[in-house]
Amino acid sequence: MKLLVTMKRVEDYESKIKVKPDNSWIVTDGVNYRANPFDEIAVEEALRLRDANMPSEVVVVSIGPAAAAAEIRSGLAMGADRGILVKHDAFVDSDGVARLLKAIVDQEKPDLVLMGKQAVDVDDNVAGQLLAEYLGWGQATFASKKESLESPEEKAKKPGVRIAPDKKSAQVAREVDGGLEVLEVQLPAIITVDLRLNVPRYASLPNIMKAKKKPIAEMTPAQLRVDVAPKVKVVKVEPPPQRAAGVKVPDVQTLVQKLHSEAKVI
């Protein structure tokens, strides 16, 4: 099987996010970057599926500046086989991402595309579903599993996505409102992953060394013949309204009294 996984370079969620004075974007100087945590879960799932369905290949793709090669390398260090970097410095909206990924899928012809359900910078949760529609494929969004992250299945690093023995379909448990829904999706398909699908592995030092020798192919949107002019433009970025500082109360009685007569919420 061939598994294609996305890996977006995003601001580290531990970094302090500040808005630029001209409200055009956030301040990027001094901000740490890392791989989108949802995409790391997608890579982990792809590696588990590869190891359970040998022989298979895991290809990591990223769209972003030259520096995004670092995030591809982190996927390769986790164990992926090779990388593709679509180099583009400016903002690409989710529609542009989906159309670039479609061009990559047309070239690579994977059996399955695994993506984070959203990137934690723009928090859009849209690109995977768009890609599925553009390809005319089935989708299983918000992939999760019935077993908890403390379960023996997770400890044994079993995939949560179940590929059928004939490799023509996959069963996916999805996190939806009010419970878990299980779908069977024909392959090739798009799966977007949620938090509770797995715990991604750390890259070992030998694997980090090995990853340096793994190939990363570079291309541009122009080479892929994709126009990335956004359908959705970001026109202004502002800081969120600050909550007024609250008060500390000395004991439970005071708290309940204030909630009752001051805030009037109980």
Binding site: I17, V19, I26, S94, D95, V120, D121, D123, D124, V126, Q129, L130, A132, E133, Y134, W137, G138, Q139, A140, T141, F142, S144, K146, L149, E150, Q171, E175, V176, D177, G179, L180, E181, V182, L183, A189, D194, L195, R196, V232, K233, V234, V235, K236, V237, E238, P239, P240, R243, G246, V247, K248, V249, D251, V252, L255, V256, L259, A263, V265, I266
Partner: protein, 316 residues
């Protein structure tokens, strides 16, 4: 005149409350564009739910053929896109629920529309406000395409008001495409407590509970509240997934949010910062949760919560 199509959501013939927030967002949009509103309901039970949606004064189109029985993104997006073309929709609005997030992008792709997701506010006919970076920034985005699709965060829009005259309900025949996905089963997480995203009061527990949610649940029941949890709690398997409050879980905005034993990581704050009144109870006086709390109590939750439960019961 341009039409705004609200693709509503239902389960077993019951309209989801979030759809009434989507209707409010559509009404606000109609004020900016001068458009008229129509509703759509798809799937088994859609006809029954359509009567309810119509009572809010909008005409509702119903697609109820067998091929749409389960809420599959492939089939439901096809029906919604066909309806959008049929009514000449310039905007399609959905609530940003699991269903809306699953279906709306495929509608947008079919219509060649730009999609503004998880919208918090309508700025103009083509500009919308939404959160980015876990709510650490608010962006105004502009959708540049003639047809626009938006999903709206239900907690940011009040439910629509019933109208005196109900709209007409019109069944529509749209052949269902053969999907590449098949519904197998749904494992419902049942609870006697109110739905987390719809509750007036939410009591949430974090790592400080050490997995013992009894004090949380007892206070929640005394307050007729929903129970929530931090990511750490859910990851540890102490509580089910769908109780997680945060950027990566449910976004809630109740009248009262009580965070017990929750430190207040950015991801968690992004899911509850919109609450009207926030109470933090934590042993650690330096916990970041206190920076967003209206009322902070530095205390052991295992002592404070039972005491609070008793005090609440005395209030009647």
């Amino acid at each position: 005149m341009a039409t705004i199509l609200v693709v509503a959501e239902q389960a077993g013939g019951h309209l989801k409350k979030a759809s009434l927030s989507a209707l409010t967002a559509a009404q606000q949009l109609a004020h900016k564009t001068g458009g008229q509103i129509a509703g759509a309901l798809i799937g088994a039970g859609a006809g029954q739910a359509a009567q309810e949606l119509a009572s809010y004064g909008v005409p509702v189109h119903v697609v109820e053929d067998k091929g749409y029985e389960h809420a599959l993104a492939e089939t439901h997006s096809a029906a919604a896109a066909e309806l959008a073309k049929k009514v000449g929709a310039s905007e399609v609005v959905m609530a940003a629920t699991a269903y809306g997030k699953d279906v709306a992008p495929r509608i947008a792709a079919k219509l060649g529309a730009g999609l503004a997701s998880d919208v918090l506010g309508i700025v103009s006919g083509n500009q919308f406000r939404r959160a980015m970076w876990a709510g650490n920034a608010l962006a105004t985005v502009e959708v540049t395409t003639p047809v626009k699709v938006i999903t709206v965060r239900a907690t940011e829009f009040a439910a629509a008001q019933k109208a005196q005259a109900a709209g007409a309900v019109t069944p529509q025949q749209i052949p269902a495409p053969q999907p590449k996905t098949k519904f197998l089963e749904f494992n419902e997480v049942k609870s006697a407590r109110p739905e987390l995203t719809e509750a007036r009061v939410v009591v949430s527990g974090g790592r400080g509970t050490k997995g013992d949610f009894k004090p949380i649940e007892q206070l929640a029941d005394a307050l007729h509240a929903a129970v929530g949890a931090s990511r750490a709690v859910v990851d540890a398997g102490w509580q089910p997934n769908d109780l997680q409050v945060g950027q990566t879980g449910k976004v809630v905005a109740p009248q009262l949010y009580i965070a017990a034993g929750i430190s207040g990581a950015i991801q968690h704050l992004a899911g509850m910062k919109g609450s009207k009144t926030i109470v933090a109870i934590n042993k650690d006086a330096e916990a970041p949760i206190f920076q967003v709390a209206d009322y902070g109590l530095v205390a052991d939750l295992f002592k404070a919560l039972p005491e609070m439960t008793d005090a609440v019961k005395k209030l009647g």
